[in-house]
Symmetry: D2
Subunit: 426 residues, 4 copies
């Protein structure tokens, strides 16, 4: 063990010495990764890891999909234009047309597509801007344990106090309301509605309500479909725009392309990023109902709105959604994951653990303090990449690539089981 | 002409119908671009364009550099990890080491490298956060006609009123001070210093001063080296952090790797993006002096901090800086550009035009109103991609790829000359 | 009736023509008042009114108390210093000493006395400032339907949307939480506690919680003693300062000098104004626990902190509190008022009315829309001064001078009864 | 000297023990004042002081004017209504009519009169609110070394860093621009105009510009009439409301009723307080041009808007302005004061002193550090009440009652001369 540590220290020297102290994942997983395929990653020592992390949801289609690789290589070889801001290009055109045909039209959705810059936070910032412009209001309601990004606009609707404090300035124009099931035995919709209807509530009529249907960073908290419907209904009654931040829960993560589909709701604005780029290259979209697409040209912009390699991979990724086969397979694997998780919970009652989430976005909330980091460290040693979330890092979070097979899930859960055992027996 | 327009309309239909009205470049250059190499681009009709725009400065090394292409293809083919957040990976390690050896060490710079997310605005947001954290102050001084990005933190130090208004909320914690030469016959440093020294000035001691040495979006306003030195000196005397936003002016654009090198100054924080990625893929860095690198792990994060394809191209791009050959060639070509610009200014006195900028970041400020858009439209028709900047779009802005040759510059200026002639004779 | 209106119009001409449209009370009570004594007022026509308004709580000791009048006249005649900022003066000294002896010492309260400027909003602004200074935090939690004043600091913790909107700027650094009984069947303390304990709630640990024990403008909502105790306990556990705004509910209005006495709680800061001046002259105090009195000299100031005529009357007013006689008499009259109110509620079931408040701070909440203004207008015609409160002006509010007698209360209620009858039969 | 100190300590015990540490004037003038008449004050030891302070400008008409005393006594004795919010009362009506006839009509001013609460800061807060409402803009431009009050709205346009810091929260929606003569050899109007005309200046078109024609707290900085005219002109050209805060410089302080009269300008809003109440009782007005008086009823309010005793004295005070006799006498006495000040400056070249101000609002700026407090302490010992102002308390400020006679001025200056001599010879 001592030897290993020495080797690792040496391996990580470049990062330790040259990189800012802000780096985090290279601390929890102290190795140098080199190759990846499907749901597996290898480091420079050739050690293999099962990936239950998937780039924090950016690799739903797994690492290095063959077809995506081929298409990117052909495009590069052919001197395809790589960077284009929001100029018209062939890959942008094809992506737009395929996105319409495969995603929007079959779901009866009338969204205009905005390329807001290549990151989730850019999409959220643009969503907040257009909601404020369209309504002429400034407040946005967000929810407890929400995470929407790290730039000041997105951070203002993010709930985590460590991240908010990092802003270095007070964050305004947002009101935090209780998410589904936030306070035991309390009806959070009644609470929200009361604040909206009372002219003396101290909360102004907001421009928008922004939410994640399943809160990833906040602890894999999945809102019920009934709660989502009530929020949607309340937005319609009060003429508030509903923004669904589907950056982490979208692109099939919960079993349907958009995470809100089973609720039968109809958000006014949808934020997509992470897996929308297919292969893990930076890309983001903001979908805006036609009637609210009131931007002036260039009113929001950014240098990297035209990442054509990402468009190539993204277009290829959409083929997964041409039939309902992919969606069904996700749901089947979600069941496998859920059963495995429940088995672990039952096996270790001393963890005081609870299942969280839906689809392939699940977690185990551990009631006993300060165990999760150790469990994840043990898992890493044993070849499983898995991280924590929640305000106190109390949830072990499972985001395997959606293309994982049953065997991969079971193997990963097996390692987790061993890691819990090892942690508890320390 | 009618035929052309009809064809174009048809060509742009996808963008017009499916994309948000926020799109801008595809309006000014209504075609579909397909291929690019060096300083040239071709659209789907095979029409060739000279690129005096270079992805708004993201393509300093030109389109599709052969070696970068080869290395990216090899990496993809080899199942290299594409997306990695801030995990350790081989390309990240190599980039860090080469950046230190080629850029930092020879310039005697002791910066820690932060990967803040893949866009310039992410870098600026992170710079503002750390400056506020380190100093415990909240105000940041920025300058008239500054552009630092479109997310709320960066927008708060951006000066343009149209862009600020787009925020939909008031922008705070920033004070706008006059840039070099802002008011005729007035000493802007005296003004700034007076506000700092007087306890009754209404301006609190700031956390930082943020500036571009050459303001790109603001109208190609180049600060004098003397002015930059005075700002740097004033920051040191008042214990204010100096942030240089070198997103557009850095990476060789003005002739040296960092735009501030000729001033002999020593910024505390430097923001890099655009051409740092070499080939035009999204990437950004924040360079922070060791003593100010006081981040907690994960205090600022983002999904796309580990764009490994960009690291591959970025590392290759650094080879240009191993000797001073590249730097000298930029300066020579800058002279060619300057002379050509001056010849045009002399030829058309009715434009009331003035030369702006330095290095290969130059512009012509047109005193006569409302001509610049027409000139750029004429240039596009004739095969030159060139855009405007400045608060009233009054400046024609030249940002050719740094790898352009003398012939390319002259050909581009020839088209511009014709375009001006055509516009004036309307 | 027509004649009357004409005469009134003429009477009000000066106000209509010369005063700003912001004037309000002279609209609801369109006459010119001239004299007042005890609980009665007379206009220039000699018409007598019973005063159930008492200067919105500024005239607890009634109009023109004989002893106060005599002492003020003697002071003026004697060339007593009238205006003194915060210089030492004889009346300021006497007031301080008497306030300590009669109010603070017997209640075991260790408060430093601050004269923050002569209005309630000044007291609240100073309370917020010192709480933020002492804790180094910026957020303040206030409650739904709170009213704390009209200057920007106080307005930021005021809940009414019409008043907030009047600010013309967004109001920050405050979070509105549900007051006691705000949402049917919901436990508002559970919500508040959950938001405080969860690091991912989106609500930062506040500097202070500010509350009125009985919300005057907000609709005569009286918090239960149990709720107040829980808030106090929660403040202590979380190291949050508790500010009680006793501007309207203090000075005996609810039966004890401070409204919070029956709850047995111990606020860190108390705001007093309105009746603290005895006779209705502008005066305010901020009481601050010794350990939190961390002001620098002059860190908060104001021209009218030394209103010596007010100090004279205020000192005289304190004699009412030398024994518990006055307190008991208030509680007896409160019972008379409550019974009278309940009788009216029973008599007019069609009003869907409910009793509100405690002490001599009571109200009738009318469930049927849009009746209260008419009722008050009818009451004015019949010689009763009474106003509405609540977010929709749905509550008729009773604030008679505390020195009123049983006969006065009954006479006033009799007029109200007639006015309701007349309104309902329209 | 020891004895004296002991006695004083004892005298001040009540204030030291019971009052908040925020108290300031009772520190610099450690005695208990008891009586006052005209320009003289006496303490409880019978010691007489000449008053060059006049309640910080609240006692322009001197202490205890005989007629005001008589009218107040008669009113109290007659059971006149003391407190009335904004109900119609006889004294309010008479004040309004006299103010129109004596002040507004002869100056051709069409202002609506608002009673915003009884303090200067209340008037400023109301002025900012209505300016923002009328224009729909939020920024207000204020000037270096401005002082407008201590509540958060007014503090946001106040420049002093100690006072701003006391807010405990960042102050927004304001931009500080350089006052007349702020930076040596720089044209402050050129700066201001450039920031307004440039769409890329970073400063939004403001709702209003607020200024004091002579900055009292800021160091008795008197703007030139030419500068005021330029600001006024610029406001008209850019459709910005001009607010003159005449709280300290108004009511005759500079020789005319409004301080801006000699500039021939026409502010849109004027704030009055301090001496408007005649005898030193709390009172304030906001004067608003008819076209901008767009308040909704009660949109700004406050308990002490109807201080009828103040109205009685205020109405009497207006008689001073029925002819130009009073105005002329102020200007004559201003000459006496100016000559005396200049004589002192000449006598003590080692002070490096400069004359400041105009009318009976003058000061001596002392170039040598840290003398002014000692000089004022010496003056107090010798029977002169005089205070300092300016960001570093570097200015000795003379605000004698306007009713002072030549003898009083000379006597006061004589004491000051002695005090300077004593200080310098220490």
């Amino acid at each position: 063990m001592v030897t290993t540590t020495v080797i690792e220290d040496d391996k990580m020297k470049t990062f330790e010495e040259l990189e800012s102290t802000v780096r985090s994942y290279s601390r929890g997983w102290p190795t140098v990764f080199e190759k990846a395929k499907g749901y597996k990653i290898w480091d420079t020592d050739g050690k293999e890891y099962i990936d239950f992390f998937a780039g924090a949801g950016a690799l739903n289609y797994g690492h290095n999909d063959e077809t995506m690789q081929e298409k990117m290589i052909a495009y590069i070889r052919d001197n395809g234009i790589i960077h284009s801001l929001d100029m018209g290009t062939t890959p942008r055109k094809e992506f737009l047309e395929r996105f319409k045909d495969i995603i929007l039209t079959p779901r009866n959705l009338d969204y205009k597509v905005m390329f807001p810059g290549p990151t989730g936070t850019n999409s959220v910032e643009s969503a907040l801007k257009i909601a404020r412009k369209v309504t002429g209001r400034d407040t946005v309601i967000s929810f407890t344990n929400a995470f929407h990004g790290m730039t000041i606009g997105s951070l203002s609707v993010t709930a985590n106090s460590f991240k908010r404090h990092g802003a270095g300035v007070p964050l305004h124009h947002s009101v935090s309301m209780p998410f589904d099931d936030y306070v035991e035995d309390q009806d959070t919709i009644a609470y929200l509605e009361r604040f909206l209807e009372d002219r003396g509530s101290g909360v102004a009529l907001p421009a928008a309500i922004i939410l994640e249907t399943v809160q990833g960073e906040g602890g894999i908290n999945a809102a019920s479909m009934e709660w989502l419907k009530k929020v949607d209904d309340l937005c319609k009654r009060w003429d508030i725009l509903l923004i669904v931040d589907d950056v982490q829960a979208g692109c099939g993560r919960t079993g349907t392309f958009f995470s809100f589909e089973p609720a039968g709701i109809d958000p006014d604005i949808v934020c997509l990023s992470k897996s929308i780029g297919g292969v893990g290259l930076p890309m983001a979209l903001t979908l805006i109902k036609s009637e609210y697409d009131q931007w002036g040209p260039g009113e929001h912009n950014g240098t990297f709105r035209g990442n054509n390699l990402a468009f190539i991979a993204a277009t290829e990724a959409l083929t997964n959604w041409e039939t309902d086969h992919f969606s069904k397979s996700i749901q089947e694997k979600a069941d496998v994951l859920r059963k495995g998780v429940q088995a672990i919970i039952s096996k270790y009652p001393e963890l005081d653990a609870h299942q969280r989430g839906r689809g392939l976005m699940q977690g185990i909330a551990i009631g006993k303090d300060d165990l999760t980091d150790d469990i994840c460290a043990e898992a890493f040693q044993r070849g499983l990449i898995v991280e924590t979330s929640g305000p106190n890092d109390e949830v072990i979070k499972f985001l395997p690539p959606l293309i994982i097979d049953k065997e991969g899930i079971e193997k990963g859960l097996g390692i987790l089981d061993d890691s819990i055992g090892a942690t508890l027996s320390k």
